[in-house]
Symmetry: C2
Amino acid sequence: MAVSLSDIAERAGVSVKTVSNALHGGSARMSDDTRARIKGIAEDLGYVTNLAARGVRQGWLPLIGVIADELITSPFATEIIRGLDGAARSAEMAVFAMNLSGTRNVGSVLEEVRRFRPRAIAFAAMYHKTVELPAELAKSVGVMINCREVAGRVASLVPDEEGAAHEVTRHLLAAGRRRIAFVNLPGLLAGELREKGFRNALADAGHAPVAILPAVRRAIYSDRAPSLVIDHVAALMRRGDRPDAILCGNDRVAMEVYTALRRAGVSIPGDVAVASFDNQVEIASRLDPPLTTMALPHRAMGRLAAEMLLSGACSSPELRMLPFQLVERSSI
Amino acid sequence: MAVSLSDIAERAGVSVKTVSNALHGGSARMSDDTRARIKGIAEDLGYVTNLAARGVRQGWLPLIGVIADELITSPFATEIIRGLDGAARSAEMAVFAMNLSGTRNVGSVLEEVRRFRPRAIAFAAMYHKTVELPAELAKSVGVMINCREVAGRVASLVPDEEGAAHEVTRHLLAAGRRRIAFVNLPGLLAGELREKGFRNALADAGHAPVAILPAVRRAIYSDRAPSLVIDHVAALMRRGDRPDAILCGNDRVAMEVYTALRRAGVSIPGDVAVASFDNQVEIASRLDPPLTTMALPHRAMGRLAAEMLLSGACSSPELRMLPFQLVERSSI
DNA sequence: TTGTAAGCGTTATCAC
DNA sequence: GTGATAACGCTTACAA
């Protein structure tokens, strides 16, 4: 069994409480001498605080529980954890992530997390979406990250998709592009909002989109089959009014758009500028040419979530939209 | 404060112990009637087991602590967690990951993890590497995942880089390729071992490599600058004895090799076959043509690690190498 | 089958 | 400044 306060107390010839004060009681008044001596003994013995014991006493463990709606598999999704972790650490807390995979429902995972008596609980989605949380569960969750609770019972942090689309579209316009097409993600909330922002930005500038195409996600077919994006873009480039810029629903779509443009003998950005969303660095920085894209505010969402949870600022169930950041590379 | 066993006991008119038996004492003998009644009350009251309290009693929390040497940022690295998580869950345990980022050293993170009194601790590296663990820390760590402890004091699980390279090279040879070049990762253990397997496979078949080039990692320069891989491969293709296959150090290198080949007007796999390592799906499946690559055994390492930790089979500090899996797409 | 008492390591209360 | 003592919620040992 690990060394405990009483082991130290015995060795130091003082009471347990004194040891506790010396090691953990920040401002408890005691002689510097005693304190130093006790700390020395603790060090010698290899004492490590038992947070479980402290947890019984206090009613909670210094943990921020995170329920992730899918296995945290996408590279930028881990940025959410990174943000949470940084902010949590400042408060001497740790992040405890639990994945909601397969058939497990939110209720059972939430209970699993609650068994550990975390100080606060967040719910994080891997893709921006709407989530339905049963009323009794909503009470345990302090903040929703990258998703919105349908009933609006829980504070939510989401990326400002519409604003980002507006911004990147303005950027394309500022670069002199006028005939802009949008190859969108089908059936995703993010895609819907991005499209809205795109349309608004064009309308504000007095232009009309050349085309808005739904991208067919390769995953629907197979890992190996070519996606329909290629055909769509090929058709687009055969039109008389071919675009001079293509905005893509995300970086993965952009990767396929690049393939299509290449096959059509179109140069980027000479003939057609390309821009996108997500800043999935592995892809965006290695495409040829490197892709200009709007970076998702995942880290910021994580950090803000932790700050809200720990400061108890999650009382009002407001929806906060965080801005993307434009990452300029050379595809425009 | 949350509802406890005594709340249930009071309501049920029985002792705390009886409630404990009813809810947690799997085979404890008691009337089905009482048990059902108690469970009903627990349900009504919304009872959630307090693992912190149980932990004080037992001396440990049902956690597998994982110390990750870098922020878990690479998409396949999360597979390690996934593997651990699956196996841990079978044993009613949870995985508790702690990142070793920035200036924090292993000792302090290890202590941070130990404060939570996990049942077992694993150390996971994001890239296959050699790790030096101070002797006193090595004792707390049960297994090393994706890395090897220099002193050989701790059981280690690593990918069989050499075997994978041997296998994929044989695969290229079986496809009729004879003039194979290798664009390697510089300064990485994985690259070194992969190169060794590559050389051996060619030697076994009585061939010699056309060229072995160190890839210069783009990250060393900047997110936006082109990598030297492009120049290297261009030079390679201008040679009289140009290769009919290129094996790449990993999928990201392959992505740049694709760019270089494309610029050189070389078709894949018609003129040159390409194969690689990692199976970073986002990239490999979306390249044009989709990339044949050896998938890292991250999930298997995670699962095996958890099984070893929980069965106490980590006593012998042996090094186990797990096989990659060939994922055939259409670049060969 | 159920109850009682003790103990896990910590912190809080209050007395000295 | 320091020390008893109780308490947190749970499990174990033992008694009924």
